[in-house]
Amino acid sequence: MIFNKIFKNALLVLAACLVLSACATKKEVATDDVTISGQMQSDVYTGTDSVEYLADGVKDRVFFATNESILTTASRETLRAQAAWLRKNSDINVVLEGHADERGTREYNLALGERRANSAKDYLMTYGISSDRISVLSYGKERPVDAGSSPLAWSKNRRSVTVKAN
């Protein structure tokens, strides 16, 4: 996205200013923006802020772009790790909880959360996890992890979280 490029360039300039501590008035804005750019890539959250672990090195959640349910490369990696762990722990069933950010209508978001969780479910199934072990639960926009009203907060909330069911 062109906007993102311009944005990043601007950040570089601002970051440079910070180093030189010359742009005192813009300091606060700049530090905020640097955090955002470090934790998002094309609208998808890449940070670790809200992430929990099912087991050592096995992240519990994957993130999505606005209105999307496509899995990113990083998401597929996370889900492969989950699948490997689930194959080893065959007595454990999981619930995939799908979520949306607050920038949509409630009813559409319920459907979108369901679609995201199913996207994760399909991937787990292609890595050998039986559908009997996976249930899907959509919360739509009802359970954000981040109460903020910023693109970063929204990106953390667009997620599918794998939760142990037993």
Binding site: Y108, A111, L137, E142, D146
Partner: protein, 437 residues
Amino acid sequence: MILIPIKAFALIEVDITRGNLSPLPLAVSPLSIDDKSRKSFEKILSEKNIGSEISVIVENNLRTSGLFNPLSKEAFLQAPDIANLKPRFEDWNLIKAQALITGKVTYVDEKLRVEFRLWDVLAAKEMMALAFTTVPNNWRRVGHIISDKVYERLTGEKGYFDTRIIYVAEEGPKTQRIKKLAIMDQDGANNKFLTLGNELVLTPRFNPTSQMVTYLSYFKNLPRVYLLDIETGTQEVVGDFPGMTFAPRFSPDGKKIIMSFAKDGKSDIYTMDLENRIVERITNHPSIDTSPSYSPNGEFIAFNSDRSGYQQIYIMKSDGTNVERISFGNGIYGTPVWSPRGDLIAFTKLHKGNFYIGVMRTDGSGERLLTENYYQEAPSWSPNGRVLIFYRETKTNVKGEGFSAKLWSIDLTGYNERLVTTPTDASDPSWSSLLNN
């Protein structure tokens, strides 16, 4: 309930099709009440003077409609009892009242008897006189019925005051909201919680023909559409679906529930007949199809689908054939709701980061945006199709603080936007039909 309607030629007329920038000045005289009746009602209802209380209800209703300007009672020169017999029109003219409402309350055989009159001050004529008797507990409804009759007489359209709103009451932090079903009179009185908040509940909607409500509950963590009888409190799950059902609404005859069923990443629209329990699939598409809403004659369904790539509004015949996209403006569109008058569809629109409530004709033409905000959605029509109620959420600060959700109403004209006060935060409002039709 109504005994003596007396028709007279209407001289005063209120045009409600345009934004009304100069509301009609009128006087609502306190309803007169004799001492004995006043004491009886005080005992039964713990209201000091039910005559003046009823007139306050009428006054508030007419004021919030935005079409009327009830004048301050302090300026009234004539006593309520005498005014009801025969107003001295010069006195009311003097304070610039164009219409006058007078009345009388009596306690008869353990019942509340009310008579009221509407007067055209300039023509010095009675426009309407009605009397009715009811149980004392209905006293607030009496105020709403008077308001409806006055509204109807002066605008030529049915009122919407003797109605209730069901909504979701919200409390707690944004990340862990506690939600309960709540119901209140249209003016905010008689607020009652219908669920305890143990499970998440969303999107309650009234049955247009009875006191039934359909809503989504996360009971046992299984999001399903439920049916609730608000008189008896009985609840039941609607249908037996192997997955989430949501976005429920009644058909206009109240005999069916239309809703979405989500499975394997796609959501389709289904109906269930409440009498024979037969489930019918209406759409079958890999996209998300949701937020269905019937036309008032039951022949068509408006719904929300992302089959074009983004959320848009579609209409189809009620059997699912002839699907046609009707929203083509900039942005994405959701929550279509068919007006009770049949000519318009209200919707939510997201464009360039802002949310709008708007209306369009049923073929998608004539799109008109009524209000713009950070976040608002889910319009619901007043039964006369003149007012929309919806909810609005605020933007939080950097720390995620300052979140609130409130109900708002706005006229179809785009004027008269008002906060609807609720004891807690609120969302997902649904307006009932007129209780006394």
